[in-house]
């Protein structure tokens, strides 16, 4: 393993993502858990940068950290009953922790068998090298509205958002 800037940056961001994720599940104070979510999301944004996807990293920061996580924090602060909650364990936490560990072990076992750097498929730099030169934001935008690329999922995702909005109002409004 070569120690260079990229590996160090990867280690930093990966630790942020993992520690943040563990914090979300394990912190007793719900508000702290929400803050911990911000750390995890920032770590993931950093990983996107390392994978040569700066646009996704920016979206991750703007949308997930800027909008969604902040919204969650607002909800917690505005809901008195939840904000006062200090205990988020139930009696099954040992069992579910065990299940999580087993799943993690299986995933680790399977994925660790893959990793040879010369195999291009598991090597981020090699993947980045296969990308076309114009793989930027403009190409992404063009692909999303190209009838031979991703226009259908894009439109359906738009419909999904609309339905979620209609449904949220229908379920939450006072009659």
């Amino acid at each position: 393993m070569i120690i260079n800037g990229e590996t160090i940056a990867f280690a930093v961001f990966a630790i942020m993502a993992i520690v943040g994720g563990v914090g979300v599940a394990a912190l007793r104070n719900l508000f702290h858990a929400a803050l911990s979510l911000l750390v995890a999301l920032f770590g993931v944004a950093g990983l996107f940068v390392l994978l040569a996807a700066p646009f996704l990293a920016m979206v991750q920061i703007l949308v997930y950290m800027g909008a969604i996580a902040i919204l969650i924090i607002f909800v917690i602060m505005l809901t008195q009953r939840v904000a006062g909650m200090r205990e988020q364990y139930n009696r099954q936490w040992i069992l579910s922790g065990l299940v999580a560990l087993v799943v993690f072990g299986v995933l680790l076992m399977v994925i660790s068998q893959l990793g040879t750097p010369e195999n291009a498929m598991w090597n981020p730099s090699a993947v980045a090298a296969t990308l076309p030169d114009d793989a930027g934001v403009a190409a992404l935008g063009a692909d999303l509205v190209d009838a031979n690329r991703y226009v259908l999922p894009f439109e359906v995702a738009g419909l999904l958002m609309t339905v979620a909005l209609i449904g949220a109002i229908a379920v939450a409004r006072e009659d």
Binding site: V110, Q113, L160, A164
Partner: protein, 433 residues
Amino acid sequence: MFAPVPEGGASEQLFLGGMVRHDTLAQIFRSMILLAAAITCLISADVPRVGRRGDYYAIIIAATLGMCLMSAASDLIMVLIALETTSISLYLLVGFLRGDAKSAEAGVKYFLFGAFSSAVLLYGLSLLYGFAGQTNIYGLSGALAAAGLEPGHVLLVLVMVLVGFGFKVSAVPFHFWTPDVYEGAPTPITAFISVGSKAASFALLLRFFLAVFPTYEEYWVVVIAVLATFTMTLGNLLALVQRNIKRMLAYSSIAQAGYALIGVAAVAADNSLGSGAVVFYMFMYTLTNLAAFTIVILVERVTGGDQIADLAGLHQRAPRLALAMFLALLSLGGIPPLAGFAGKLFLFSAAVDAGLVWLAMVGVINALVSLYYYLVVAKVMYVDQPAHADKAIAVSRPYVYSLVVTVVGMVLLGTIFIGPWLNWSTSAASGLF
């Protein structure tokens, strides 16, 4: 939708950048889903607090679109978006009864289980993309073979995908949400989930497994056969002890998913017969379950309860409704000459053809067990004395249409339409390989 299917296999049938495929399988499942959606709207008409709400029908339309896309999706991205469009619309519909604690609980429960299984599925799909380097499901099997993976890697993905689909078809052990959601949701939505969402998921399951994992058949046939056994047996055993008709139909629908999984397990060994049987079975199940739920709604409106005991003496109060329910129950139980018999017959013979004789035996035993609880309901309708014999059961026009379509369809599908329908169903298989 009924545009003729282009000849010439996947390359001619993929549209919009390979996102969807227009083939017979998609066509037949879409007609099933659209029929289910139409009848769901009909039987919603007189249901208090949902029948006169525009937003309710708007969400049903979105869910229907999601299901139609699920039956045709041929790209990992489209699979996920179609699944989410369906699921999120259904979460909202399940929790639609504002202020009703049961409906709210059902909505939240469905959402939590659904979000969990979607996450596992998404993880599986992203690993699949990582292994193969592409997203079109008709290119994946070749790319997986070229990547030179150990079987263990693909099996991991296979299990994750199966968790996602297993949740949608409510296969054991991913069925925990089913009884509570079926009981708490507005009854027309229960009907819609039990048929539309299940049919779309079976379409996706068939297409996905045959397109992506054909070289790993020896593994997933065993997994699905075991899943089918547990699903049938547990569903039927738990249905025996239910007192609430919606919960009883929930466990019955788990068991029915188990029978259909027999066909999926048989698909691998004998292609066209197995998938043809699944398609036929899902169509007959759609008609039959919609008929049963139409009557549950009508009775619920008059008696205000959804216990099996509330059906008591239905024969004296409304003989035609009792007869329709009786036919639906017989069809679910698999008694000739109704469609359910033909459906089960094709499934079990497909299993025998595929060399899964033990699985067919398990299916037959389960079908016999299930007859008991279906016939208990019939006994309650015909023998027990009604509590309010004087209260007539009003059947408004939308419900008449729904019952006529479903009951006539159920009888025709079990008699003179068997041949043509089975031909159409098996021709759906030809596009899968």
